[in-house]
């Protein structure tokens, strides 16, 4: 059994990685314990409001690299620990059996060398799958500069892998993570994408990253504006086939003259998630959401901001508007849009009907008509004020039961 002290060290160095989602895999139980739960599942929530789904842990925090922002970097004076693959395996099995976790998110510092660190990760997940008979969710972080064959081997056991870009530009990477390079992160992503496609095309037995790949960027440690971050995100979705891009507000755990002394505003991260959501589910492009060198508005959510910049599209009539347009109405989420599509087949919908259907109209009423009637305000200045004021309160509470369900499914995101 791993010691409490080791567990603490290896968890505390892993906890700033925000990805925790356990969704996207339907791996079957094949006689041992565990299976995938396609929708993902939160097992607990910590006082910082984050979901615990996976056991998020490093195999080792003993690093030879010197990323400036990282508390495990080689020159940091911190307690070091390395777990054995067996310690991790029994921890996963016993936590899983008690339903504490949905699976494992295993990462490691670059201990000894990139190949050595990656070998240890592969050994652990292979052991877990083959010796311990574990079929629950496994997310493995890839080590940059490791042998491509090791990445491929890991992918045969993992449900998801991630190479974290961390810094959204090559210049920042050079400055803050000098031993990493754009290629050391993007090439393995491409390799795994190619291999996953081949695996599926050949309909081979077994699994090869059924939940795909993700990545993470730290926001606020380097000067890139939101526009640049979102364009990078968009290309990662389109060209690299990533399932998710996570954003992590920079938290200053390290003092360095190259790093800002204060953390990024949580609101900025929240806005990026909202914008990301618009890219993935609402048919928006990065170019529509924010200019190249611009930042997202902190006061207004990105959909509201877009709608205010594009008044020519509004108001839309709920009884006629196509789905794509309903989805562009501020305050109307995917679920409300579906409800509207379904209900309007039976009756002409007025505002009272929308209310009964629990479509939240506080923002939406300024952008739509129901049965020809408009209940919003058309004065742009007043409208902006109303939308900004509503926002502040909502962000404070944000706890409608069913939005919560969706939020719970996707860990920390900005559902609109």
């Amino acid at each position: 059994m791993i010691s409490e002290e080791k567990l603490q060290i290896l968890t505390e160095s892993a906890k700033y990685d925000v990805s925790c989602s356990s969704s996207g895999s339907k791996r079957k139980n094949e006689g041992g314990i565990g299976n995938g739960y396609a929708a993902g599942c939160c097992h607990s929530f910590t006082p910082d409001g984050r979901c615990i789904s996976l056991l998020k842990i490093l195999l080792s925090n003993d690093c030879i690299f010197r990323c400036k922002y990282c508390m495990s970097r080689a020159d940091a004076d911190v307690p070091r620990a390395t777990a054995t693959p067996e310690e991790i395996c029994t921890l996963v099995m016993d936590f899983y059996k008690r339903n504490y976790i949905e699976g494992l998110f295993l990462s490691s510092a670059v201990v000894k060398s990139p190949d050595y660190a990656m070998e240890q990760l592969v050994r652990t997940v292979k052991l877990l799958r083959t010796e311990y008979g574990f079929h629950g969710y496994i997310h493995v972080k890839g080590i940059p500069h490791a042998d491509p064959l090791l990445a491929r081997e890991a992918a045969q056991y993992a449900d998801r892998m991630s190479y974290n870009i961390e810094l959204p530009s090559e210049a920042s990477l050079k400055l803050l993570a000098p031993q990493k390079s754009k290629e050391s992160l993007l090439l393995p992503m491409k390799q795994l994408q190619r291999e996953a496609l081949a695996f599926r095309a050949e309909k081979r037995r077994g699994y090869f990253l059924p939940a795909g790949q993700t990545t993470q960027m730290i926001v606020g440690a380097s000067p890139e504006p939101d526009g640049q971050i979102l364009r990078l995100t968009q290309s990662l979705y389109r060209a690299n086939g990533l399932k998710r891009v996570y954003y992590s507000s920079y938290v200053p755990v390290v003092h360095d003259r190259l790093l800002p002394a204060v953390g990024a505003k949580p609101m900025r991260e929240h806005r990026l998630y909202q914008a990301d959501w618009l890219l993935r589910f609402y048919g928006f492009t990065a170019e529509e959401i924010v200019e190249d060198d611009g930042n997202l508005s902190l006061e207004l959510d990105p959909k509201c901001a877009w709608a205010l910049r594009n008044p020519q599209f509004f108001p839309v009539e709920v009884n006629r508007a196509p789905l794509e347009m309903l989805l562009r109405v501020p305050g109307i989420g995917a679920r409300s849009a579906q409800k509207i599509l379904s209900a309007r087949r039976y009756a002409r919908l007025g505002f009272a009907d929308l209310q009964k259907m629990r479509v939240v109209l506080k923002r939406a009423r300024h952008f739509l008509t129901a049965d020809g009637k408009f209940f919003g305000t058309e004065n742009p200045a007043a409208l902006r004020g109303l939308l900004t004021a509503g926002e502040a309160r909502e962000n404070a509470v944000q706890l409608d039961l069913f939005r919560e369900l969706e939020a719970a499914r996707t860990a920390r995101t900005g559902e609109l």
Binding site: E4, T11, K15, T46, L349
Partner: protein, 243 residues
């Protein structure tokens, strides 16, 4: 007229037939205070009439009995009224009404059903098993809705080799998987001898819970929204936070 019934499907269907043409009907499965001058009747389940009603309703909407099952599991105060209104509407329209979300009765029923389903989803995560000395797993729960047996397929699929008991301590019943079969049984109190390592694993879990948190970003309100305090009682990671 108030129609009391016992909360089961058969007695609901019998009561539905009795109350159908009574516009003032109130359905109740709980003991309620009668107002002055109010009349009441206790409806005994009548298997023959219930089956007739079920067949008719299934002709209108082949999936409506699944809705009824979930509605009758709801712990909401108004669930008897919600169920009555919903099934009245199906009977009146003679077709599935599920998608008619602008109807009050449908919106209310949908809401009620979603809450039950949402709680099932939540408990897939919030159930905490204790390992007993024999290796069987035991999880006490106190959910808002009557869902313990609905949780079984999920855990059975992922822990096929472990017998387990999910004990609804509020309703004093347990869903049991004995390694082969699943069944529901009345269970008042359970005495469980824990395995030798159970305490140590719980301690590790608490340590993990504490270590993975980022204290500088405290958002307690959000945490409590996602994981309401009423569920904490059986979650080891929250034991210290309940006074």
């Amino acid at each position: 007229m108030i129609y009391f019934y016992d909360g089961t499907k058969q007695s609901f269907l019998t009561a539905l037939l009795a109350a159908y043409s009574d516009g003032e009907a109130v359905l109740s499965s709980r003991s309620a205070q009668l107002g002055l001058g109010e009349q009441s009747v206790f409806v005994h389940a009548d298997p023959v009439r219930a089956e007739k009603a079920e067949k008719r309703l299934l002709r209108y909407d082949p999936k409506c009995m699944e809705d009824l099952d979930l509605l009758l599991r709801s712990g909401a105060d108004d669930r008897d009224k919600v169920a009555l209104d919903y099934f009245r509407l199906i009977a009146a329209r003679k077709c599935p009404v599920r998608a008619m979300l602008a109807e009050d009765a449908v919106a209310a029923a949908e809401d009620c059903i979603r809450r039950v389903q949402f709680e099932v989803h939540r408990f897939h995560g919030f159930v905490r098993f204790l390992e007993s000395a024999s290796g069987a797993l035991y999880a006490p729960i106190a959910p808002d809705n009557d869902i313990c047996d609905l949780l079984v397929p999920h855990f059975r699929a992922r822990l096929p080799r472990f017998p387990f008991v999910i004990h609804d301590v509020k309703r004093k019943r347990a869903a049991v998987y004995d390694g082969e079969h699943t069944f529901l049984a009345p269970l008042d109190r359970a005495e469980v001898a824990l395995s030798a390592d159970e305490g140590a694993w719980q301690a590790l879990w608490k340590k993990y819970y504490k270590s993975v948190n980022i204290p500088s970003r405290e958002r307690l309100k959000q945490m409590r929204g996602y994981m309401p305090v009423r569920y904490w009682k059986f979650m080891p990671e929250k034991f210290g936070d309940l006074c």
